[in-house]
């Protein structure tokens, strides 16, 4: 494959006529990414929050299945191939073996290396035991082309809630599964992982770009729906000394982005269903980052609307997110070197926003 950047033609990135036909239906953002020297770029696809939900026997909720199947199929069309695929957590709805197995089976169609983040819907039935058997450790780090990547299990909570509060594991799972359930408990990274993170980062140079993957936001947006990490400030303090830090999180089923000090925050979409922005709940105050230009209000009559997946490009240590939205124009949130913050490449200016981005 040519590495000449602008000399690359679109046809070089698709392998067969059939794939070309499908790629024609995909947002252009998927092919734009091939520009630049491939050996310097890191690119990865990000699929998250599929919430595979078991009904009975071999039946699963069709709607959620289709979301994950579509994201997997489209990710496989990416060319050049991404360096890896991340799954951002909440593969399952209630953490059962049938759900995790069924989700893993759909995910097995992905080509290339796949890494996983733990979500609360995967965790609170058996505290991650079966998930770990399928996907490996719950927190870890790896290095690729000069970038240090960290994966955290950010959806743990107070031990008393986890171990002493509920008569059964099923009830514990069900209580945490309800987003707006007042019996839930705030997410946190916890002492054990923060000690690990500190020692993991101690061997990383401050100029090395750091990318952290978590399920919950690692910032505080709205506690009522756990768009929240209780020890976010303590985690942020460990990350602030680095020149370029990006946190990519799932859980919120919507586009969010923010910058706190040196740390840039980006959320990813769900493949299952979208969530309202917290400001549309009239009874509580939320702290949606001012930087965020919301995604369009979802049209529920198109069941994949406001769901999707992401292609993420890490060039020069900055992370650019390309949101593949099925019934809307795709969005791109990229680091703006002039303003020094992540911005939507089309809608950031208040003048360029459109009516569907108003949530109430």
């Amino acid at each position: 494959m040519s590495k000449q950047g602008s000399g690359i033609k679109r046809r070089d990135f698709v392998k067969t006529a059939a794939v070309t036909a499908m790629a024609g239906a995909l947002p252009v953002s998927l092919v734009e990414l091939a520009f630049g020297k491939q050996q310097d770029n890191i690119s990865f696809a990000y699929i998250s929050d599929s919430h595979i939900q078991h009904i009975r026997g071999t039946e699963f909720v069709r709607n959620w299945d289709r979301g994950l199947i579509r994201a997997v199929a489209e990710t496989n069309l990416l060319a050049p191939k991404p360096d890896f695929v991340m799954f951002g957590g909440d593969l399952a709805q209630l953490g059962t073996k049938p759900e995790l197995d069924h989700g893993a089976e759909i995910m097995s169609a992905l080509k290339g290396k796949v890494r996983y983040v733990m979500g609360e819907h995967d965790y609170y039935l058996d505290l991650g035991k079966y998930w770990s058997k399928l996907f490996g450790p719950q927190y870890y780090s790896f290095d690729l082309k000069g970038v240090h990547f960290v994966v955290l299990n950010s959806i743990r909570t107070f031990d008393d809630w986890t171990y002493n509060r509920w008569p059964t594991a099923e009830q514990r799972m069900s209580e945490m599964a309800g987003l707006d359930n007042p019996n839930g408990s705030p997410f946190m990274v916890g002492d054990e992982q923060r000690v690990w993170l500190k020692s993991d980062l101690a061997r990383v140079g401050k100029q090395t770009p750091v990318v952290v993957f978590s399920h919950s936001p690692l910032q505080k947006i709205y506690k009522g729906w756990n768009f929240w990490t209780e020890d976010a400030e303590q985690v942020q303090a460990l990350l602030q000394p680095f020149d370029q830090v990006t946190v990519v999180y799932g859980h919120v089923h919507q586009i969010q982005y923010n910058q706190i000090g040196n740390i840039r925050f980006h959320s990813v979409m769900a493949t299952a269903w979208p969530w309202p922005y917290p400001q549309s709940y009239a009874q509580a105050a939320s702290h949606l980052p001012k930087l965020t230009v919301p995604m369009n209000r979802a049209d529920p009559f198109f069941e994949r609307d406001a769901t999707g997946w992401q292609f993420i490009n890490v060039a020069t240590g900055n992370v650019d997110l390309n949101y593949t939205l099925y019934n809307n124009r795709s969005r791109r949130v990229a680091f703006n070197a002039v303003t020094g913050q992540p911005e939507d490449t089309v809608y950031q200016s208040p003048d360029s926003r459109i009516a569907p981005q108003t949530h109430y």
Binding site: H51, Q53, H54, I55, E59, V61, R62, N63, G178, L179, D180, N181, G224, W225, W273, P274, W275, P276, P278, S280, Y281, A282, Q283, A284, R297, A298, D299, P300, F301, E303, H359, Y360
Partner: protein
Amino acid sequence: MNTTRKMPAVVALFAVLLMSGGPLRADEFSEKDLQRWQQQFQDTVQTGRALWTSGTDLGTNGVACAQCHPNAANTHPETYPKFQKQIGRVVRLWETINWCIRNPLEGKALAADDPKMVALEAYVTWERRGVALDPGKH
């Protein structure tokens, strides 16, 4: 008119007034009445909340309303009746709720006056309390 014949009725009326705790007329109500009416409403809201978060009471596939609409957010009860472009006419909130019951929940639509539908509307509207009516708004 014979006053002796009226006496039993007057006595009965006094007895009723004494039993109800005060000389109330039909257009008067007490604090106790208000509390009882509010309680009736709140019980219905609670029934609605239970239905909203249930994977088994409305649909057939385990999906609950609350999965997509935490705290009934993004339901906008204050905007109904309104033109629902996907249905092609002006609808009321219960018709949109039924659309959700039939589609994402794969269940059977409820009658407009089904106690379950009344409870769902009570819950959705309660979560939106304080927001000004804005019928027709998209």
